[in-house]
Symmetry: C2
Subunit: 262 residues, 2 copies
């Protein structure tokens, strides 16, 4: 018999429909748990794709209705991107980080530095879209930390279980190729875990002071995205012993003045 080993399990829930505005994320979770034959357990973390939240919030935009201003038109020329998309990205942003051919990296108004302000152009069409409308895109959720906290609270009420919630997206990053899952919202777990003062085996105090737990959860859940054709909007993470709650995903943002790569 194996000894009890530290172990974490990630399961992609089934039974999630195409989400349209007005659908309630907590109800989608409860239905997907039912369809998957699972029930929430204390200490579970639910990683929710930001796209589900954006769609439920109706964050669709028809680019044909977006009028690019002069700044967007200039930037679209420089980046070779659709001027309407660039206009929308500017409206979503606090600052431009890099603009080069085929690249537009901004600081989103939520603080996250990401390409195209996180605007998503794949599977971004609402069910109610008129034929011939679009192209459609989807903005990031309005307040992902708030959405995570709300979803957690209603699931507690509906299921009687307190869990952690992470709202995830996939971002590129400097220095390294490929996207990884990142947390843009969280509740019920510390997005950053403070290891300061924990001595190592030789009594030396550890140098890595903070671990980005919420980002690691988002990256882990993203592993399953390649495993299911229909997408994996809800991934249940079971088996972690979570430290007391604290920082949320908003706290993962480096202050612009302290970021040497802004």
């Amino acid at each position: 018999m194996p000894a009890v080993l530290p172990r974490v399990e990630l399961v992609a829930l089934r039974g999630v429909p195409t989400v349209d505005p007005g659908m309630e994320p907590w109800r989608l979770v409860v239905d997907a748990l039912d369809a998957s034959g699972l029930a929430l357990e204390p200490g579970d973390v639910l990683v929710v794709s930001s796209k589900i939240i954006s769609r439920a919030e109706g964050r669709f935009v028809d680019l044909s209705g977006v009028e690019p201003g002069a700044v967007a038109r200039e930037l679209a020329g420089r980046t070779r991107k659709d001027p309407a998309l660039v206009e929308l990205a500017l409206r979503e942003s606090a600052a431009i980080s890099r603009a080069e051919p085929n690249v537009l990296v901004v600081r989103h108004r939520l603080g996250f530095v990401c390409a195209n302000a996180g605007i998503d152009a794949s599977n971004a069409q609402p069910a109610a879209a008129e034929p011939g409308s679009g192209p459609w895109v989807l903005l990031l959720p309005e307040d992902p930390d708030g959405s995570a906290a709300g979803l957690r609270a209603v699931l507690h009420h509906a299921c009687g279980v307190e869990i952690g919630v992470v709202i995830s997206d996939s971002f590129g990053r400097p220095f390294r190729l490929g996207t990884v899952g990142v947390a843009i919202g969280s509740a019920g777990l510390p997005a950053l875990v403070d290891h300061r003062g924990r001595p190592d085996r030789h009594g030396r105090v550890l140098e890595h002071t903070f671990t980005a737990l919420a980002d690691q959860l988002a990256a882990a859940a993203d592993l399953l995205a390649g495993q299911a054709d229909e997408g994996t909007p809800f991934v249940l993470v079971r088996g972690l012993t979570l430290p007391a709650s604290g920082a949320t995903a908003a706290d993962l943002v480096r202050a612009p003045g302290e970021d040497l790569y802004a």
Copy 2:
């Protein structure tokens, strides 16, 4: 009965001793599997802490024996770091990325952009260290992709099973606080997965073209590091259907000329 759901399990192996130079990583894995009551299965991925490989390779350096040159002394003043540590970081590096008070970010000779050239000062003492020697630090492995390929090949020979291997470290990053697990070596799986040309639900070709699978595995395995006091040098990841092999961790490095944040 739950339907068969996409599912991944991560297990931290027990029974790993403090590693000293000359110990063979494959033997440590086999012993840890035995101690944990587990056997490798095809498709498993083993995430190995880079520290284990560095220690086995004897990458210890006694800082008291490192003579800082003029460049290191100037940089140590600017970063308020130990001049011997800075000298060592420079010897390990191809370029300096950022140097500010308490921050030294370099491009390691392996291509990775990270703080202090990945030099590790916690649990970095060899068992054979003379009393009064040190302080000791540990360099990154000499050739992590090569170490991953070697470990994979010997485990195939010893256990008759082909698995994926990721050698992981924890790096900080621009824009976001906290460290996350990253892959510095890999074998037997594509470090980058190419999704180009896969259409979405509406026939639109997906925009996120590459996923950094090896980094996501390293981040997922890092979730277990907080779950065990004695560290989690070997994490077994079970349940993924891996695409055919291709890119290794070295391919995760953005070419300096193509990195807008270099």
